[in-house]
Structure formats: C-alpha cells, structure tokens
C-alpha cells in the first residue's frame, strides 16, 4: 500500500497572518484515487488545497507528495513534483489568449496531454483558441483551467469547485471528463459544494469542519451515512 501512496498529510496546521485556519489535518490519497473534500464554506477545504501547493502564509506538519516531504519547499518546486492546481476562481489570464492560457504552464514531466489531446477532450477550446481568455463563457473558462494543467504531465490534480455556477449540461461534461482522467490513472482531489457531483465520482470522501477532518467515508458507505453527511453540509 505504501508504494501506491500519492499524498500523505500529517498534522497539518495552516495560517494566514494571525488566523489559524487548519487545525491538524490528516489525510491520505492513494495513486489513481479520486477523493472528494466536502464541507461548508469556510470549513477549510480551499485552504487545504492551497496548503498542499504552499500558497498559504505559513504551514506546519508534514505533506509528503510521492514520497517527498514538501513542507519547506517553495510553490514552484512543489508543482514540479507533478501537481496541477485548478483554483476556485479559475484564474484565466485576461492578457493572454485562450491558447496562450493553455500553453502557459510549462511541461514538468512526460506523460501529459498534448494540445491536441486537450482539444479532443474540450472541442470548444479549439474554436475559441484566439479569443481573449476572459471572454470565454464560464464553462469554457473552467474547461480551459482544467485543460491547461493536463498538459504539464501533472499526475495529482487539485480541483477546487469545478462544478460551481455552471449549467447542468456543462456539469455533465465535466463529470465525463473526470471519469476519463480517472481511467487514465490520474489522482484527483475534488473540493466540491455539489454533493451529487462529488459522490458520483469519488472513491472516498473526507468531510471537513472547522479546519479539521470530521469524517472519512468510502464511496460505498455514502448512501448509508447520507444523513450524517447532510448534517455536516446543511446550513
């Protein structure tokens, strides 16, 4: 089991300035697994993804990616270990065209998508390749934000709220996209507000509350414990 481990987080504490956001998070993700992080807004899920990337003010504990301790690494070195981060705000660059956005992240290692592969998965992007990045529709921008981290050869994808605010037909397309990435052996951590979307894709689910992991469930336990999960997510 140890050889198949992609990510192990032990007793992670994260801070923004004086605010202490994560309070001792423990989490493991196996190679090829799809894991969903559920929880209310402010539970610490986005901060957990940012902590993995080294994008918080300060972090303590252990974050081992593919056998490498990353807690003291700068963000760009962490990324080079094969992490692809798709932030909640999508961060499409307005001064770059669609294709420039797509081509921006450098290829970190072999085995990534080619540009043709990305266009194959998201044909809309091919049609919009010359458009200014931020002129794309919300769904197209989301596809672009996912597509551009597939080119890098990253094997561990951190996807923050990718279904948020999108039309059902786009969400269905993203669902198919995640399934296809899973079939290709990608390891994926999904931060989701949309329980249905996440539950349909994830092998396992972590529920976060107040900067801690409150529950850890396997996909086959979700139905039986749906009431418990809904209590954590309910307002």
């Amino acid at each position: 089991m140890a050889a198949a481990e992609m990510l192990r987080i032990t007793d992670l504490h994260s801070f923004y300035g004086e605010s202490h956001i994560l309070h001792g998070v423990d989490l493991q993700v196996g190679r090829g697994e799809v894991v969903a992080l559920l929880g209310r807004n402010g539970a610490g899920r986005t901060t957990l993804l940012k902590s993995i990337m080294g994008l918080v003010g300060r972090r303590t504990g252990r974050i081992v990616v593919n056998g490498r301790e990353t807690i003291d690494m700068p963000t760009h070195r962490i990324a080079a270990l094969g992490l692809g981060y798709c932030p909640e705000e999508r961060a499409i660059f307005s001064t770059l065209s669609c294709e420039e956005n797509l081509m921006l992240p450098p290829v970190l290692r072999g085995g990534g998508f080619s540009v043709e592969d990305v266009y194959g998965m998201f044909p809309n992007l091919r049609e919009r390749r010359a458009s200014q990045g931020t002129r794309l529709s919300g769904g197209e921008q989301q596809m672009l934000a996912i597509g551009r981290i597939l080119r890098t050869g990253a094997q561990l994808l951190l996807l923050d709220e990718i279904s948020e605010g999108l039309a059902p037909v786009i969400v269905i397309a993203l669902d198919a996209c995640i399934r296809s990435l899973k079939d290709r052996g990608y390891t994926i951590i999904l931060v989701e507000q949309n329980f249905e979307f996440a539950a349909g894709l994830a092998d396992r689910v972590y529920v976060m509350e107040n900067g801690r992991i409150a529950e850890s469930l396997r996909a086959n336990e979700l139905e039986a414990k749906a009431g418990l999960v809904q209590r954590y997510l309910g307002v």
């Binding site: 990337m53 994008l55 700068p74 963000t75 760009h76 990324a79 080079a80 981060y85 932030p87 961060a91 660059f93 307005s94 001064t95 770059l96 420039e100 081509m103 921006l104 992240p105 450098p106 970190l108 981290i149 890098t152």
Partner: protein, 295 residues
C-alpha cells in the same frame, strides 16, 4: 516652405529632433518603470539614479580603463543589470508583502544615497563624454542639419523599445511575464520560479535605464543629478501612458518629448510644464492613462 507658423523650418525641425531625442530617453526609462511596476508592484524611484549610474559607468570605463563607447554600450547594461539584481535580492525582496509606499520609500532612499556618493566622488559640475568618432559628423537632410549621433540615439532607442515590446507581448517568456503580472501565485503554482522572474525583471528594467544612460552621455552633461532631473518627467509619462502599459510607456514617451520640443519653439515659457499640464488633463478625463485599462 522656409517658415511654419512664422518659424524657420530648420529651427522647428531642430527642436523637434531634440524633442525626439529626449522622448527616446523618456520612452526607455518609462518602459523600464512600467515593466517593473507591473510585475513587482514597486514604484522604482531610483530609476533616474540608475540612468545616471549608467552614464557614469560609461564615463568611468572610458576615463579609467580606456574602454570606448561601443564596448560600453554592451558592458554597462550588463553591469547595471547586476546592480539591479543585487538591489532586488538584498532589499526589495523583503518588502513585497508590504504596501507600495514602502517600495517607493526604499527606492527614494537608494536614489539619494547613490546621488550623494556620486556627488562626493565627482562633484556636481558634471563631466563631458564624447560621441564616438564614427557618429561625430552631421548629415544635411535638406531642411535641417542632423547631427549623426542624435539620429543614432533615436534609432537605437526605438529599436530597443520595439524589441522589448516584442519580447513581452509576442513571446512565451513574455506570456509568463504578463501572466505573473496578473496573478503571480497561480503562475508559481504552475511550476514557474516567480521569485527568480522578479529578480531578472528588475535587473532587465535597470539594464534599460543603464543603456539609456550610455546613449545619453554624449548628448547631455553627465552629472550626479541628471537622473533626478529626468525622473519626474518620466513618472508623468508613465501616468499619461497608463501605469503598467508597455505600449503606453513607449508611445507617450516619444510623443511627450516631441510636444516638449514643439513647445520650446512656440511658447518657450511653458516647455518645462507642458508635460504636467497634459498629465493633469489625462488624469481628469482618462484617469487610467491613455493606454491603461479602466478597472
């Protein structure tokens, strides 16, 4: 055909040419400021001082080591880039997380210290630096006599500005720079060494200032205060062009140099204020600058 607005054509053309030469320096300096501000969020008040140091570096190379103009043109930008890299590594790096104001204060302090050092060393009288022999002559254009060196300055600076524009707007390296200007953290999360980019960008901006200093040395008095004299106008140029706009910095640099030259002929009393009048008008009607994007 010998007079326009009652002014002899050679006089008008001569002043416009001087304006174009000044505009070339404005463009190169405001371009560096724009690139630095865009990526580092630092208002680099020491930019004029770096320009002065570039001119003195050429002077020192010639008078102390016997190195001529053309070699200086290549060596000085490299030396100034190293100075910039050292300043970024030793000082600026520590204040990125603070308000703009601190970068401004730090670079003002650096400017004053260096000016003091140069005044102590060279006095405030100024040194002269000869144009290279191959450009010491003049060309008769028919309507005016053009000193060759001035023509060269305009060509060299336009070439440099165009090359910089191309590098930033049309290449992959430039795409990193544009993206990091918008959202440095995400660019770093893509695996790009953004801290190194900041260092090299600052070095590049300072190299441009140093290059402008070498180009300027034969056409102006090389004095410790030459940077302070020009930097205020250059800041006005940046504001008029639009903070952070590459094209804006180049176009308004050249245009305002020409406008100054024209004003010297038509109404000399206003020639030193015309840039600031334009700045006030631009701020009034288009606060983001002529080429800036409205937020």
């Amino acid at each position: 055909m010998s007079e326009i607005f009652g002014i002899p054509v050679p006089v008008l053309a001569g002043q416009l040419m001087l304006g174009l030469v000044n505009g070339s320096f404005y463009a190169m300096l405001s371009l560096g400021l724009a690139v630095i501000f865009g990526l580092l969020n630092v208002i680099n008040f020491s930019h004029g001082t770096m320009y002065m140091m570039g001119a003195y570096a050429a002077w020192m190379l010639m008078n102390w080591l016997g190195v001529g103009y053309w070699w200086s043109l290549a060596i000085v930008p490299v030396v100034m880039a190293l100075v910039g890299i050292a300043v970024e590594r030793l000082f600026l790096r520590w204040i990125y997380h603070l308000d703009h104001l601190y970068g401004l204060l730090l670079t003002i302090g650096f400017a004053w210290v260096m000016e003091g050092v140069y005044r102590d060393q060279f006095g405030s009288g100024g040194q002269s630096y000869p144009a290279p022999d191959s450009l010491a002559g003049v060309t008769d254009l028919g309507f005016m006599i053009l000193p060759d060196y001035r023509g060269w300055v305009v060509l060299a600076s336009l070439g440099t500005c165009f090359a910089t524009w191309y590098l930033i707007e049309r290449t992959r390296l430039g795409a990193y720079l544009r993206a990091a200007t918008e959202n440095p953290r995400i660019v770093q999360a893509f695996g790009i060494n953004v801290p190194l980019m900041l260092t090299l960008t600052y070095g590049f901006g300072i190299a441009l200032a140093g290059l402008a200093g070498v180009l300027a040395a034969p056409v102006i008095q090389v004095t410790p205060l030459m940077g302070s004299n020009v930097i205020i106008v250059v800041f006005a140029v940046v504001v008029i062009g639009g903070l952070g706009s590459i094209l804006g910095a180049i176009v308004s640099g050249i245009a305002l140099g020409l406008l100054e030259g024209l004003t010297k002929v038509l109404y000399p009393e206003a020639s030193s204020t015309v840039v600031f009048v334009v700045m006030a008008l631009v701020l009034l009607f288009k606060p983001a600058g002529l080429f800036g994007k409205e937020e």
